[in-house]
Structure formats: C-alpha cells, structure tokens
Symmetry: C2
Subunit: 259 residues, 2 copies
C-alpha cells in the first residue's frame, strides 16, 4: 500500500468517525427534544421559560452541544423561541384536543378562550357521489357546504370543510355559525344528541394555498382529521375535513388493550 493510498484511507476513516459522531449527536438531540417537548406541552416549565442550557444538560445528562441542537429542533418546530438575553421561551400554546369523547372545537377548548369562525363559504351544492353515499343520501342530492377558518384568541387553528344533508343544513343558515360549533347546532336543530363518529387522522404538508389561509409557512405540517359524525339514532349527518395547524394542536386520549 503506497503512503499516498494510506493517507487517503486514514482520511476516509477520520471522515467516517466524524460522520458517526454527528449522527450520534443528532440522535441524542432528538431524544432530548422529545423529552423537552412533553414538558413544554404539559406546562412543566414555570412561566414558559426553559432552564438554562447548563441546567438542562445536567438534568438530562447531555452535553452543551446536544442541548443546543435539541433546542434548535424545537425552535424549528415553532414550539420554542430563543430570545437573546432571556433564554428559551415557550413560543405558542399548543392546545390538547381530546380523543376520548366526540366534541366540537369550542367545547373542547372552552377553558382556553373563545373560538371564532370565519365563514368563508356557505351554501347548497350538488353532493359528489362519495359524499352522498357517506351521508346516506340519494345520488345527486344537494348538501349544505360550509367552509370555516377557525381561530382561538384571534390565531388561526384550523380550516374546516363541512358537508351536511340539506334538510338539516338549511336550518343552520340562520344560526350563529361564527360563534357556535356545528355539533351544538346539529343537536339543537335535530333535538337529539350526536352518537358516534368515525375518524381518520393524518399528518400532511400544507399546500401553498392552505398554508396561506392558516397563516402558516408553506409545507407546514398539518394534522388532518376526516370525521363522519352520526346522530344518536345512527343517521350520518356531518362529513368534515379539518386541517389543524400542527404547531397549535395535539390530540390526546386513552387506549385500552382489551376491547
């Protein structure tokens, strides 16, 4: 093996070691970020200020570099802000939406403030075939379509696309859609409680237009909820497609092993 070749080989070895060290540090930063995320979401830091980097490092057995990288990850997620001279502060409250019980947004978030809805569209449309089928309506029926941008304390939380059977929907046209959950209106209009809802949750990147409406960066992670809600008597009455800003909402619940 020539001296030249040997040097190259040693160089490659050093590069591998450096790459491995970077990878390990990135792994550790992710571990630490996940632990801090939980503390942030559950309000464990008094007045929303995180401890100093040294203290975090001590508490979590992490180096200063790892702590910095972890805080960088949380800052990129929009969960914390690094304020010079102050430290790291919780940037924006993230609200817990319950997964245990079927609730409207205003109901579930009532202790955090008033939900207001900007009604972007409301009116009858001919139901596309899958909408008619899922709402148990004859093909080509009309349905009421409602599109709302929902805010809490003025900040956009979600963009909701809603399809309702027209016989029930027309009764909502005069209702206070700006300040009332559709769930509450459905119960008051039909005189019966809601029953069950089939839900599907996904994480998607917001397209440019949805991001603009939600005042989020293009490509921002969105928690997408599709929900078909039935009245207590079983009739499907409310098909919704909801985009929650990922940095503003978490969904929490309890799962059981036995059913």
């Amino acid at each position: 093996m020539s001296a030249e070749h040997h040097r190259e080989h040693a160089g490659a070895g050093a590069r591998t070691v450096a790459a491995r060290r970077r990878r390990l540090r990135a792994d550790r930063a992710r571990q630490l970020a996940d632990l801090l995320r939980h503390q942030i979401l559950t309000g464990a830091f008094a007045e929303g200020v995180l401890p100093y980097e040294e203290a975090i490092g001590r508490d979590y057995g992490a180096t200063r570099n790892t702590v910095r990288q972890a805080l960088g990850l949380l800052s990129a997620e929009g969960l914390v802000e690094r304020v010079p001279g102050v430290g790291t502060v919780v940037a924006c409250e993230k609200y817990r939406h319950g997964l245990d019980r079927l609730q409207g947004l205003a109901e579930t978030l009532h202790e955090h403030g008033q939900v207001s809805n900007e009604v972007r569209t409301v009116g009858p449309v001919r139901a596309p075939a899958p909408v008619a089928a899922r709402l148990g309506l004859p093909e080509h029926s009309e349905v009421l379509y409602i599109e709302r941008l929902r805010r809490l304390g003025g900040l956009p939380l979600s963009l909701d696309l809603t399809y309702l059977p027209l016989d029930i929907g027309v009764e909502l046209l005069d209702a206070d859609l700006e300040h009332t959950d559709v769930f509450r209106l459905l119960e008051s209009v039909t005189g019966q409680p809601l029953g069950r809802a089939e839900i599907t949750l996904e994480a998607v990147n917001a397209d440019a237009h949805s991001a603009a409406v939600l005042q989020a960066p293009r490509g921002a992670a969105v928690l997408m909820l599709e929900r078909l809600t039935h009245l207590a008597d079983g009739r499907p009455v409310d098909l919704e497609f909801i985009r929650f800003r990922g940095d503003r909402i978490t969904m929490s619940g309890l799962l059981h092993r036995a059913t």
Copy 2:
C-alpha cells in the same frame, strides 16, 4: 378622476378579480383533493388507478383545471403519481393504524406484511428526571433505551424511541427485537397483559436527521405519537416517542359523544 387614474383603478379591479378566481379555484381543488384522498385511502379505485380527468370532473362537478390542481395537491403529498400514458396511479399504500385498541405495529399491520425492526441502539441509560417520574421509578434509576427503525415490506414506516424500566428491560436484551413488537415481549416477560396507554398525537415537520433516517424528504410531515403504556396492574412500563412517516400511516378510530 383623470383617465390615467381610472385606467389604474380598472387594472387593480381586474387583478382583484383574477386573485379571487385563483383563490376560488384553489378552494375547489382542496375540496376535491380531500374527497379523492378518502377514496384513495379506502381503496375505492380498482387496481389503484384513478379515473381520467374528464371522468373525475364529471363525477365531482369540477372543471378540468380544478381536477388537475387537485391531482397536483395529492401528488405533492406523495399519495398519487401522474404517469404519462397511464394516468394517475396510487403511489404508495397508506396503512391504517387502529386508534380503538392498544396494539403494536406488527399486530395492527399483520395483514399487510411483516414488520421488521432495525435496532439502532439498545442499552441501559440513566433515566432523565421526567422519564423516571413517568415510569414511576426513583430519580437517577437506570432504564433500558431502545431505538428502532421500523419497516414494512422493506419501506421505513417509523422511528421509535423507547424507555423501559430496567428490571423488565433486561429480559428483552436476548429477545428477538428485530421481529417482535415490544408490546408482545412485555406481556410475555411480565406474564400479564398490558392495560391502558395515554397517547398524544401531533403533526410535525421532520428535522433533517429524522427525515434522513426515515428516507423521507426534509421537512416531510410526520405523525408523532407519544405513548405511555401500563401493565394491566397499572404499572407504567413503556414510554415511547414514535415518528410515523405521514405518507405511510393513518390513524383511525371511533369516537362517542357520551362517555
């Protein structure tokens, strides 16, 4: 008003009309994309091929431009691919993870194929204070830390960070972690079934390193699941932080109005 001024004003009006038209088309594209997404996820399109643009337009009462824009949104999400000469095809199966019952990944996806786990790290670590607290352990206890990249049919699905109490964890060191859910191992090691789990779901943008591990684009939307699982006797035994690729997993379940 001068003729000059009037022309400027008319120009602004035309621009407003054009902007409004673009906004309306973007709104309609989103509506259509959401309806198609449900059809795709539930396997409504035979052999994973979507109908021609004209047919979609007819079925959903949408213009050709809206159809194209909607397919563009789904393609940007990685849900469909537009193949010249073939049309629009479903790009990648998205698996339904149940929200109704506490299940491991291999259990819940068994009908789709074999889940394999690449164990990136396994070993004892000193528990950071919040980990010890949540697992009901004395401060500074050691826990078993496991990091796994989980694949289905060779494709990365999730990156799982797991903390287990060491007394239970040590018994997993000789187990087949590459092909067995931690849930199943916990039940076999402790001789009792799991009980409940508290879960929190979020949508976050993947940081560069997590994205690289998951072989997803940087910033890709990730469905983040934090889960604290208890044995049937109530003891907390498994704290996990799971990043699911947003384009590969949906979470589905049933919610009820009354509790």
